[in-house]
């Protein structure tokens, strides 16, 4: 039995709630650091940036589930909902820290930033794209919407991934390596899907021609 088989077999037995528990650990760690001075000299920025980065990490992880299944035969699809919801929760906290602690609800500045600053606008687009996904990440919604419509809606995750990576890239000065890596990861995960889509179309066209 290969390692992949072992992981798949274990994954089938493990429920998904431990993902939520594990996914909360980074938050607890941040809260601990916050109250022990571990977030450094500028805790607001540090908290804001770390929440955003963890959100982006979960988002990238959720986008990696399907390619992992198809290429590595690693089936983690039953955990995808938990990973996606965790991404949403961290991004939500990131937005709340920005609004409450960083911008301190100075709405004139917030609104001006939203329309004048492309990186904030793009970040907000990513956050808004995650809201319908979070709201429909339950069995009831899938049943009610029908699998096809649900799947279509959840393609918004691609938009959120692009927006999140670009948002990070656009807010830094110069070209540090981390945002470049996130952009590359999102680009790779979406290009894989573009390739699948192309193949499907070619196959369909070939069939129609016969």
């Amino acid at each position: 039995m290969t390692l992949t088989d072992k992981i798949n077999r274990t994954a089938r037995k493990v429920p998904s709630w431990p993902i939520y528990v594990a996914g909360t650990l980074p938050l607890l760690w941040l809260v601990f650091l916050l109250f022990t001075g571990g977030l450094g000299v500028d805790p607001v920025k540090s908290l804001e940036h770390r929440l955003g980065e963890i959100g982006l990490q979960f988002l990238v992880a959720s986008l990696a589930v399907t390619p992992l299944c198809r290429y590595a035969r690693l089936n983690l699809i039953k955990f995808r909902r938990a990973i996606g919801l965790l991404a949403f929760y961290y991004v939500l906290l990131h937005v709340l820290v920005w609004l409450l602690l960083d911008m301190q609800l100075i709405w004139s500045e917030i609104l001006k930033d939203l329309y004048k600053r492309p990186y904030i606008f793009i970040g907000m687009v990513g956050f808004l794209a995650l809201i319908p996904l979070a709201l429909t990440s339950n069995d009831y919604s899938i049943k009610k919407m029908g699998a096809a419509a649900w799947r279509k809606l959840h393609k918004l995750a691609y938009l959120a991934g692009i927006a999140g990576a670009l948002h990070y890239m656009m807010l830094v000065k110069a070209w540090p390596i981390e945002p470049i890596l996130y952009c590359a990861a999102v680009a790779a995960l979406l290009l894989i899907r573009a390739e699948w889509s192309l193949q499907r179309r070619l196959a369909a066209a070939a069939q129609a021609a016969q």
């Binding site: 600053r117 990186y119 000065k173 070209w175």
Partner: protein, 309 residues
């Protein structure tokens, strides 16, 4: 070896009478200071006087000032300089002074500082990233240095250059910026009494992460203008290049004066977060020229600061 023997000393550029007088002064000051320099940190303590140019604002703590730095030579994280700057060796250190000056040369820093009276300048410090601190620098007016080397009448600008030493400055192993870091000032800005070369803070020698052993401080401009770990100063006739201006001319102008009305293309400069005031501290409105308008606004009379940002 030839390099060392050619090195000019301050005794070469200082009139003999001043030079001798200063020796008396230093001897006198030394006798007074003996009582004050006991304790473990005595090697790093710098004698200094207070200055009327200092702000009354409460300075940030030493801990904050030395653990929140933009010094990309040591990495892009705010805590990277504190982690990596200990590798930098600052002794010996020499500063090459050249261009349109009467006495160009490669000066040993100790000679350069010998006899220069240090002052404490408690300045507001506003970063282009919209945060601010208050820092008790120890330093001296750049004008004093320029007067000593003699500025030619044709000089209009001063350019500065940071050390390049990738084995000690680990960030320089990556092409994040076009190394060496360079900056420049117009001559009248450089000669302004608020413009200092700082060699310390909190009464002690400059910590490496803050730009040891000698750095520029221009309190009415965004922090990146205040170039660190300076090894070269040159007087020029034309506007010298500036690192962030080269990196992104649309976002970082040559002047880079603190101006709440001219936003950075990607963020507002109207307000700032004051570092060290806790989680719930209010943002504060940013002041024109970082609050130094009374002293420096004249330098820019008649200039459109929206285009000359």
């Amino acid at each position: 070896m030839a390099k060392v023997s050619n090195r000019l000393r301050w005794s070469d550029v200082t009139p003999k009478s001043d030079y001798l007088n200063r020796r008396d002064l230093i001897a006198g000051a030394g006798a007074v200071a003996v009582g004050a320099i006991a304790g473990p940190a005595m090697a790093a303590k710098l004698d200094h006087t207070k200055s009327a140019y200092s702000t009354d604002a409460q300075p940030n703590t030493f801990e904050q000032i030395t653990n929140y730095n933009n010094f990309y030579e040591f990495g892009t994280g705010k805590d990277d300089p504190a982690k990596h700057a200990h590798r930098l060796t600052t002794k010996p250190w020499s500063v090459e002074i050249g261009g349109l000056v009467d006495k160009p040369g490669n000066y040993d820093l100790d000679d350069l500082l010998n006899g220069i009276a240090l002052e404490e300048r408690i300045y507001r410090f506003r970063c282009v990233e919209a945060w601010s601190m208050v820092i008790p620098w120890i330093g001296f007016e750049l004008k004093a240095l320029l007067d000593k080397v003699g500025v030619n009448p044709s000089a209009k600008y001063v350019s500065f250059e940071t050390l390049v030493r990738p084995d000690e400055m680990v960030g320089q192993n990556y092409p994040l910026l076009d190394w060496p870091y360079v900056e420049g000032l117009r001559l009248d800005e450089a000669m302004h009494p608020l413009t200092i070369m700082a060699t310390g803070l909190y009464g002690e020698e400059m910590p490496n992460q803050n730009g040891a052993p000698i750095r520029l401080v221009v309190p009415w401009k965004y922090g990146f203008k205040s170039i660190k770990s300076v090894v070269k100063i040159e007087l020029t006739e034309s506007e010298p290049p500036a690192t962030w201006n080269i990196q992104n001319p649309r976002e970082y102008g040559f002047y880079s004066n603190v101006n709440p009305k001219v936003d950075h293309p990607r963020w507002s400069q109207a307000t700032e977060r004051v570092i060290g005031q806790g989680l719930l501290a209010r943002r504060r409105p940013t002041l024109m020229f970082n609050g130094y308008a009374d002293e420096v606004a004249d330098l820019y009379a008649g200039m459109d600061l929206t285009t000359n940002y």
